[in-house]
């Protein structure tokens, strides 16, 4: 709509009334005909994610050094041999980061799966069953959300003990309410549509109404939520590692690397800042993709 008005403005720029109406509107140049996945806002994050995914899947093909290999040069700054410098054991920071990609990506993806599955089921039950079940479940979510994110993750991670599975569970459970709320809102709007009533009138069972008519309509907002959720899951997981509740392994994840590097800030800027850059690049990419998906699936949210 904004574009149409803007082009009218171009035809008759001196019409005063038109000027007032379009003063605040978004005018822009006509869009070039490029496939959507080639636009920089989508191609760039996809490229970053593909590179990180490659690191996660086949780190031994990419990493220049073995991540457990302790060289002679301790805390040496970036140079031609060690592009990202070395750590306090003389290990190559770039190789450590490449091997750490697997932990970080796995954590983010699995946590979203756990949170999305549990949250999706709760939201579906609350939205579809309605009335009392809805009230009880929503109250439960209120309680769930009353403990701030990282604090709840700390309690769960501490209660379960440190391992990759438990970090995934902790982060996943913390993010359950946001998926549940999106799911519930979507189910509520779909439930009152005419085609649900038509399906019921034509003798569909409740199970098949849910599976074939309600669920498909919830997929796109849940997909947007899940994509954006990967970013926040990685951030919460990295914070857990940073605090010291993550997995301690000879293939450390980025959050743990960063917390190690913090002890050498004054002498080795690269050790803490470069793993952090990797986390940030990944989360930015995921968020950009999530925004692009949201623009596509939910035009009302377009900015």
């Amino acid at each position: 709509m904004g574009e149409r008005l803007a082009s009218l403005d171009d035809i008759a720029p001196d019409l005063p009334a038109r000027r007032i109406a379009t003063r605040w509107r978004w005018s822009r140049r006509p869009r070039l005909l490029v496939p959507s996945w080639l636009r920089p806002g989508i191609a760039l994050p996809l490229a970053v994610m593909a590179a990180m995914l490659a690191c996660a899947i086949v780190p031994d093909w990419i990493a220049p050094f073995d991540p457990t290999d302790m060289g002679d040069a301790i805390l040496s700054p970036p140079d031609a041999v060690h592009w990202f410098g070395t750590d306090h054991f003389g290990r190559d920071v770039l190789s450590l980061m490449i091997y750490g990609a697997r932990q970080s990506l796995l954590m983010g993806a699995c946590a979203v799966f756990v949170g999305g599955l549990v949250g999706g089921l709760i939201g579906l039950a609350a939205g579809y069953a309605g009335r009392r079940a809805d009230t009880v479940l929503m109250r439960l979510l209120d309680i769930w959300m009353s403990v701030p994110d990282i604090l709840l993750a700390i309690i769960i991670a501490a209660a379960l003990g440190a391992s990759l599975t438990n970090t995934i569970l902790a982060v996943g459970l913390v993010t359950v309410p946001r998926y549940a709320r999106v799911m519930r809102a979507q189910v509520l709007t779909v439930r009152s549509r005419n085609f649900i009533e038509a399906a019921r009138a034509s003798g569909c069972s409740e199970a098949s109404i849910v599976l074939r008519h309600v669920l498909p309509h919830t997929l796109s907002p849940m997909l947007v939520m899940a994509t954006l959720g990967v970013g926040s899951s990685i951030l919460i997981g990295a914070a857990l590692s940073f605090i010291g509740l993550g997995v301690i392994d000879d293939r450390p994840d980025w959050g743990f690397l960063l917390s190690q590097g913090r002890n050498y800030l004054t002498v080795a800027w690269w050790f803490a800042s470069l793993p952090g850059l990797a986390i940030t690049a990944l989360v930015i990419s995921v968020n950009m993709l999530g925004d692009a998906l949201r623009d596509r699936f939910d035009p009302r949210m377009r900015t």
């Binding site: 605040w24 309680i143 403990v147 701030p148 700390i154 501490a158 940073f242 913090r262 952090g276 940030t280």
Partner: protein
């Protein structure tokens, strides 16, 4: 009035549920705290005696009932590690966390609201794009990484500000900037959307049409209406800041509830963990309650629905 009572009851229920949730989660904590309290060379007997003393040998319901009874009298139990009352340890740390979150929320509000308005007014222009890009950066970076960059720049390279510790105001500047900037990204987005919505309203067009100056329309009509929904964000903002404070306090080696919590987790000091999380959660619930109530005063339309 019914609205207020309804909200109060809901908040009380949430607090009660939170107490139960935290208690149950920590009851499942593996490892015997008595072994940790007893130290390394303790005999079986002394561990058993300490277990009895701490009361951790009793069944779940007995411990839970006891905890609730204590809580009703404002008693959060004794710290396993230092044998001080938990409330004493919490109150010693709380002011530092309040100062940090308060100043950080000022940073977040100023940055978020101002930039949100500027971005919305320049919709589609390069200023809008620049602000949105920078803010995407802030929302996507881990708070501890921003903190490390700030330390590297202002403490290590320029040597303007102290990196760690708490007490003086100079030591507060980096943590509050770090925490506030990370939280400001989301705020800016919401403010921008909210202002954009109002800019499309008919009354803005009318005001412009009758020849009202640009700036006056912005202040008298647009901002007044656009900033109402932003009030609700304060609640979310506080949650984010309390979460972030845990990490930021650890990074900058500041006193505070977050650091107390992280230390307590390290030594499985359950009463302190319970107390710290409970304090943070109750503050969070109370602030959201206040936001809810004040929102109904600012915008009477809400009361009708509640």
């Amino acid at each position: 009035m019914r609205f207020v009572l309804h909200r109060l009851a809901a908040a009380a229920l949430v607090v009660f549920g939170t107490v139960t949730l935290i208690f149950a989660a920590l009851y499942l904590l593996p490892g015997d705290p008595a072994v940790l309290v007893a130290g390394e060379n303790a005999t079986e007997e002394s561990i058993a005696r300490i277990r009895e003393l701490l009361g951790t040998d009793r069944p779940f319901w007995a411990q839970y009932a006891d905890y609730l009874a204590g809580l009703a009298q404002g008693d959060l139990g004794m710290s396993f590690a230092t044998q001080e009352p938990v409330t004493v340890r919490l109150w010693a740390q709380f002011p530092s966390t309040i100062a940090l979150t308060l100043f950080a929320s000022v940073v977040a509000m100023v940055a978020g609201v101002l930039l949100g308005i500027v971005a919305a007014v320049n919709r589609g222009g390069w200023i809008d794009h620049a602000i949105q890009s920078v803010m995407l950066f802030f929302t996507s970076m881990p708070s501890f990484w921003l903190g490390i960059l700030l330390i590297l720049l202002f403490s290590v390279t320029l040597q303007w500000l102290p990196a760690i510790g708490s007490g003086s105001f100079a030591q507060l500047i980096l943590p509050m900037a770090c925490l506030g900037l990370v939280a400001s990204g989301r705020l800016m987005r919401m403010v921008r959307n909210s202002v954009l919505d109002v800019l499309d309203e008919q009354f803005v067009v009318t005001a412009r049409a009758k020849g009202m100056p640009h700036r006056l329309v912005l202040f008298r009509h647009v901002l007044r209406n656009a900033l109402i929904p932003v009030v609700t964000l304060l609640g979310i903002l506080v949650g984010e800041l309390l979460s972030g404070a845990v990490v930021v306090e650890t990074l900058f080696a500041r006193q505070g509830i977050g650091r107390l919590l992280v230390d307590a987790v390290g030594v499985k000091d359950i009463p302190v963990i319970q107390g710290a999380v409970l304090l943070a959660s109750i503050s969070f619930v109370l602030i959201n309650l206040l936001v809810d109530l004040s929102y109904s005063v600012i915008d009477p339309r809400v009361r009708a629905e509640g």
